[in-house]
Symmetry: C2
Subunit: 476 residues, 2 copies
């Protein structure tokens, strides 16, 4: 796997770790307490790996000391947020230290004059927006796991989510970072600045680096004024083609950038409706879009939803439902949000994917995915963020397939899925990341020269390959 070999954690290292963070913040030799730190939200057990020790620092200085110790003793360190990831980013693949940031959970400053919030990495993302609401501000990053994930993990994975059509993904809002480097230096990048071209953009390099280039200890987030109004439209189309064709039309003809444009194929919404025991309004619909618009002026929004509705109906929509109050909005989003859960009831063995293609290629990739499902006798519902071309093509084991057969087939199905995706101008992950789940497939998405440069950049930051080794690509 790697020609880097690591030393086991011995009692003198444990003592030193205890002297750095305090004895009660080091877990060692207690497997049942360590186990929760061995995995993230990937369901499959074989992606898990136990760390030898769990360490819970409180400050950047402590983390700096831990990294210097790890370099000296040749012990791997894997940073960990809430463990809500979906690619194994926080799994300590080579053992060593699981560095949990759970104690670094303070919102340090809300700067209303500069529209910036400064937070520690262990703050739950939703908490930030809860705190900001009273000031009429918000952080526009919005992963679907917003109620449990840590903001540090959002930055490490460059989390996407449902609002990216209008607001972009996490990286757009990260304007400053305090980082402990793999070698244990504490560096400060950016700050409360909207523009900054001094040297290479290390902030953006850190964002999405999956915990392999540095550990974030302070995060500066740019805020936006909180929109006061929103309206949702649930639109049924006769087929996928017409549903997708409307996406650029809304923007070019309608001059409107929706907050969200969520897509559900027939299999997805049918399964969700069934699970929710709700009546499906149009049996004959072939695809659905859930479109959300937001703003500060209700008359303006009403004009916009009328424009969108008209454009949809002129372009083969079967029906348009408007949800302009919390109750109806909750009802339409419920269908979208329960798809994953609905398929878990059908069969808990799944591989949750997040391929991304150019928006206009969605109608091209979907029949290919259907063919794959037929070929390998699995179920692959497609739903997700149509406005970004980001599809949760979830491969689901049929109840009648044996688990041995599934384990044998899955790598081939993933290979084929990624091949079709790349052939459509797409790539293998739009928001979950590579981690070790997709590491063996990265060569399908990136050229050898690019991967070689990424390896060199990793070793420029981390010559001993100590920080989160075994992720994204193989080093040797």
């Amino acid at each position: 796997m790697s020609h880097y070999t690591y030393n086991p954690i011995n009692s003198s290292i444990v003592d030193e770790l205890k002297s750095i963070v305090g004895a009660k913040f080091v877990i060692f030799g207690e497997p049942e307490k360590i186990e929760p730190y061995s995995h993230d939200e990937i369901a499959e057990k074989h992606y898990a790996h136990m760390p030898e020790a769990v360490v819970k620092p409180r400050t950047a200085e402590e983390i700096s000391k831990i990294m210097k110790l790890a370099n000296r003793e040749n012990v791997p360190v894997t940073p960990r947020g809430a463990g809500s990831g979906l690619s194994g980013g926080a799994v300590p693949l080579h053992g060593g230290i699981s560095l949990s940031l759970e104690r670094m959970n303070e919102i340090l400053e809300i700067d209303k004059e500069n529209l910036v919030v400064v937070v520690e990495p262990g703050v739950v993302t939703n908490e930030i927006n809860d705190k900001l609401k009273a000031d009429g501000l918000f952080f526009a990053g919005y992963p679907m796991s917003v109620e449990s994930c840590f903001v540090g993990g959002n930055v490490a994975e460059n989390a996407g989510g449902g609002r990216a059509v209008k607001y972009g993904v996490t990286e757009r809002y990260i304007i400053g970072l305090e980082v402990v480097t793999p070698q244990g230096d504490i560096i400060h990048l950016g700050g409360k600045l909207s523009k900054n071209v001094v040297g290479y953009d290390f902030i953006k390099l850190m964002v999405g680096s999956e915990g392999t280039l540095g550990i974030f200890t302070k995060i500066y987030i740019k805020l936006l004024p909180l929109p006061t109004e929103k309206i949702d439209l649930l639109v049924m189309f006769k087929d996928v083609e017409s549903a997708i064709r409307i996406v650029p039309t809304i923007m070019t003809m309608g001059h409107i950038i929706p907050t969200s444009i969520e897509f559900m194929d027939k299999l997805s919404f049918q399964t969700s409706y069934k699970y929710l025991n709700e009546h499906l309004p149009h049996e004959d619909a072939g695809a659905m879009l859930l479109i959300e618009i937001d703003g500060n002026n209700i008359e303006q929004l009403e004009k916009e939803y009328e424009t969108i509705g008209e454009l949809c109906l002129q372009n083969d929509a079967i029906d348009v439902f408007v949800a302009d109050n919390t109750t109806t909005q909750e009802r339409v989003w419920k269908v979208r949000r329960n798809i994953a859960e609905a398929f878990k009831v059908y069969s808990p063995v799944q591989s949750l994917e997040d391929i991304v293609v150019p928006v206009a290629s969605i109608p091209k990739i979907l029949p290919e995915i259907e063919k794959l499902a037929d070929k390998y006798d699995v179920v692959i519902p497609c739903y997700g963020h149509a406005g970004d071309g980001n599809l949760h093509a979830t491969i689901v084991k049929k109840p009648e397939m044996s688990i041995e057969k599934w384990n044998e087939l899955l790598p081939t199905i993933l290979h084929d899925l990624y091949e079709k995706t790349v052939a459509c101008g797409g790539t293998i992950s739009g928001e979950h990341g590579i981690g070790h789940k997709r590491k063996e497939f990265i060569g399908q998405a990136l050229e050898p020269a690019t991967i070689e440069l990424m390896r060199r950049v990793k070793l420029a930051f981390d010559p001993k390959n100590i920080l989160n080794p075994g992720k994204i690509f193989n080093i040797d």
Copy 2:
């Protein structure tokens, strides 16, 4: 300066270059034809340096061959766009090859379904938006030199400009790149994708790398629907503090993100009005803001400008002028646009700076800058992009100061200016870049460990330090 030494270009290298790009696209031994490639838009002569040869490739394959030749022969290569930069990025500091991208000037594809334009690096930025207008689309990057700069240069410098408050800077829109690496590989990053978390974000690392990490040969730009309406407000305040205080108020109380919030101090607008021979409406004004809002609905915009106007008048504005047609808009922008020109008439010897501070710190930095002007007996007008805290604090030689004295003083003035800026939480360049103009000052903005990591990243891409050497930081 650097322990890297380079070989001169001999006649056999010239022959090989000619065989790669064609004889008429290599200039060698003709100093008067080479001279235009020795400088950018920095006025001072001593930042210029002559290349030994100018080479004008047409394709990525030709550039790949040139880079392989340069590595083999140990000859430096400096890529060049329109030469409209302001930090010396395109100056071939160590001689060698000036690689001009002027022939790679095609708009390759306007993809209206995916809202993406694919261009070559030598396209003039304005041309892109001219072409897109008919389709109701636009590229929101908007440097002030938009009528002459090349888009490749915008990407290399991460150009900012006047619309960044609402639309961000160049990097937000770059979603794919074809790049020739310093070692001559042609790699493909991203594409027509709105989300992409596969490996490190090399696209964003390339953006703003000032031509030191790669040469862009294809650029994928994300487009937005073109707003149909705009309105400008010229607002006079009694002092700087009240002008700046209104900036976050517009966003939080007014829920409005203007396209531009341009700031002019008293010295700037007085000099500009005088130069334009226009009557200054309020002699007693201490600062001016030029606020632009855009959108697609004129009633909505009218509401917004009324809100902004009211907020300004409640917060110590002396007067608000509204410009809602092209003629009056042209008139108010004229004042802002002619500041640089007006000071050139006063004294052509200047150092155009682009410091950036947190917006709320503008009232703190301005008195410090006034003190510097007094101390060194120079003039320092401040104007620029207040919404981003990005100020063109231009140091202007008084006509009575000798040029020797100026040359002797300038490094000290810059040092002090940057020191005050950094002390306010700011940094030394918001849009122009470091190049070699600010290289000796980068240690004031970045920590030694950060600079060391940047050096290592540079050498990871370019082990022989062949591509645009001598820029951003010193290598040894």
